[in-house]
Symmetry: C2
DNA sequence: TGCTTGCCTTGATCCAGATCAATGCCGGGC
DNA sequence: GCCCGGCATTGATCTGGATCAAGGCAAGCA
């Protein structure tokens, strides 16, 4: 649990240019709302319109709700991430905490109006949105053209890049999300996720420690089965 | 076929604020490159890094190439659209013309450097990127959680919104893309696309005219089978 | 430290959509 | 207005992953 001041300071140091006047700084501060989400609780984004979100602590998932309780996880987010939560269109969206999390939210319209004069802030937002878009496109490729084994490989490599701890060639992961979350992110079922992980374990590509620990023993091998353009060794 | 001057004028009227000085206007103009792509030809985005693209005329597809000639169409674009083509990462990307097209391209880095002082331009880019992201997320949901019939419905409705011509409750489409393109966009095979279209025809939801013409007879019926959150009548 | 609850794993079966294989037909060229 | 090539449709079969159905086991709690 962190305070609003701490969370905003994290946000400001990352997003707001050092050159920003104190007055402008304060105006951004007025727009921010701190939401402290306990594990497994979620934020419904309904009436408030598009939101800009900054993750100060924890880990979250952005979930899209289609009909018949078919949910698709659109993205996972970790501390430091900045992203947009769309307002409901054909689907409704919610943001859930995978662990206890502290996040700052801004009404998008207000934030952009304030940032209109601050090219640095806009540029930062643009870069982050472009990054989200790149990740989303890669996910599209995985969901459209890859089989279960490849999707798992892609997922593990993406997590390795974002929260992995490397040690002499191995990469250790402490996954905050459940098998169900992984399945909902990859367009698979929990059973298939489980079976593919077991296979990777049998093939000595990964090792598991309890429910959340996974060690990538041979990241290069995993890259080879991710179905990327350039096959790795 | 249109001239560079015409294409840039279209771009400027849409993207550059009226208040922009002539000097700045000219600098943007210097960065633009006109590419005239004949139907079925494509632009490889390789050495040049991330590009910002404006479609002045025609229709294009953004294709991601994974291994083994498995291609995934990431997005379709129509006149007036502004979007980014990522530089190659795990995949390579190319932009192909569905019809004869005229597009303007800008090296992203140069463009952003120039736009750094122009909050209006940045804001416009940000809004377009956010729109691309929203569309990409909706596609993720379709690919992750919907069956073939629903994907076709979603596709037809999306096309109706972008290039449809409404006339007394019906929406006429003249699709510039082939069945193969539709399949590669929806993560299906051409055979499945064809069968689903035939089914919709049998059910009197659509009518086809030749290879490219489709009329949505009952858009609301189609919405009902798109698997959106709020089922339409 | 044992219990209990909710994940996770494993196994058996099924089916939507892929794949394989013809055939049909649109539209461009002459 | 006919011919041709490539796209589209239709049919038969196959299969990866979904679904249905038990167990196993980790983590929190008493």
């Amino acid at each position: 649990m962190i305070t609003f001041a701490q969370a905003f300071e994290l946000f400001a140091s990352r997003v707001l240019p050092a050159s920003l006047t104190d007055a402008a700084h304060l105006r951004f501060r007025t727009l921010a709302t701190l939401r402290q989400l306990a594990r497994d609780t979620s934020l419904e984004i309904a009436e408030e319109g598009q939101q800009i979100v900054f993750v100060a602590r924890g880990a979250t998932k952005l979930v899209a709700h289609a009909s018949q309780s078919r949910d698709q996880i659109v993205a996972f987010h970790f501390p430091g991430d900045v992203f947009t939560v769309p307002e409901p269109d054909n689907y409704s969206y919610s943001l859930s905490a995978l662990r206890d999390s502290d996040i700052l939210t801004f009404a998008s319209a207000d934030f952009l109006a304030l940032a209109a004069g601050e090219a640095g802030v806009l540029r930062y937002l643009l870069e982050n949105t472009t990054l989200s878009l790149r990740r989303c496109r890669e996910k599209t490729i995985a969901l459209g053209r890859k089989n279960a084994r490849e999707r798992l490989a892609v997922f593990l490599l993406a997590m390795a890049e974002r929260i992995g701890v490397e040690q002499d060639g191995r990469i250790a992961l402490d996954l905050p999300m459940s098998r169900r979350d992984i399945a909902e992110s990859l367009g698979l079922t929990i059973e298939t996720v489980s079976r593919q992980l077991t296979k990777l374990k049998d093939e000595r590509v990964i090792e598991t420690l309890g429910r959340s620990g996974i060690v990538l023993l041979k990241p290069s091998l995993l890259r080879g089965r991710a179905g990327f353009l350039r096959e790795a060794a």
